[in-house]
């Protein structure tokens, strides 16, 4: 079973990389209000039951993939 995980910095956490990207996009003519940079993972879990698989993916986010102090995450089934 395949899932995607999107990890983004929490709203209040400074995202200096995103800021630089935003400035550059503005400079080349895209006027945007805001941009936030994040991370994307695709995981394939050896599990048939979707509930169990989702639980596993959630656990791996909490244990390693995400730093819960500064990051939020979203899991989607692919």
């Amino acid at each position: 079973m395949k899932f995607s995980i999107t990890v983004t910095l929490k709203k209040d956490v400074l995202d200096p990389q995103g800021k630089v990207v935003q400035n550059t996009l503005n400079n080349i003519g895209f006027n945007l209000k805001s941009i936030r940079q994040g991370k994307y993972f695709e995981v394939v879990v050896d599990e048939k039951d979707q509930k169990k698989a989702e639980k596993k993916v959630d656990e791996m986010c909490k244990k390693l993939l995400v730093n819960l102090i500064i990051e939020d995450y979203k899991i989607n089934k692919l």
């Binding site: 956490v13 400074l14 200096p16 990389q17 630089v20 244990k63 390693l64 730093n67 102090i69 500064i70």
Partner: protein
Amino acid sequence: MKSSVIVFPGSNCDRDIAVALEKMQFKNQMVWHKETRLPKSDLIVLPGGFSYGDYLRSGAIAGKSLIIDEVIRAANDGCLVLGICNGFQILTETGLLKGTLLRNKNLKFINKNVRIKVMNNETKFSNKYKKDEVLKINIAHNEGNFFTDDNHLKELKENNLISFKYCDEKGNVDDQSNPNGSLENIAGIYNLKKNILGMMPHPERMVDKLISNTDGVNLFSSLLN
């Protein structure tokens, strides 16, 4: 005093800290991260460097390595633990210290000598320093921008757990003397029991007049005191 320096793939200040510890008469051992048993130690050091190439997040992979369970157990039993630079990042990833280290505000790797102020001189790590003493010390990091939530910041202040703050030569703590954007200029913190210190600056680089200065010596002599 017996010390153990944990070595990860990508650690690059492990030899420096070993030299500093031996110079200060510690009986030091190097411990590879794949070991599952820790030699009897009074002090465990997580050294600086780029463990696992900073993959995922700085310190994240090292924070899940085999030896870390032993380090956590020893730390919870009261063993002294010092995390320098990448070691500080690893400590936050293991949860032994709260908070985290973000990318430097200016997005640049910073390698320079800065000034830090001793905020608490009543710990095992700092008793040889004077309170508010200003040290000249090297920093070399890309992710040193300390950040934490309001509750933890309150806890740090109420319990005097901030070990060092970035400052200028006169000891002023302000935005100008903050090299990396750290919350309230914080350069290092203790846990509640004050047996764990995480700091971004490198005291092990400041133990020899010939190559730098000796502002780091008192950290090690405090431990021996």
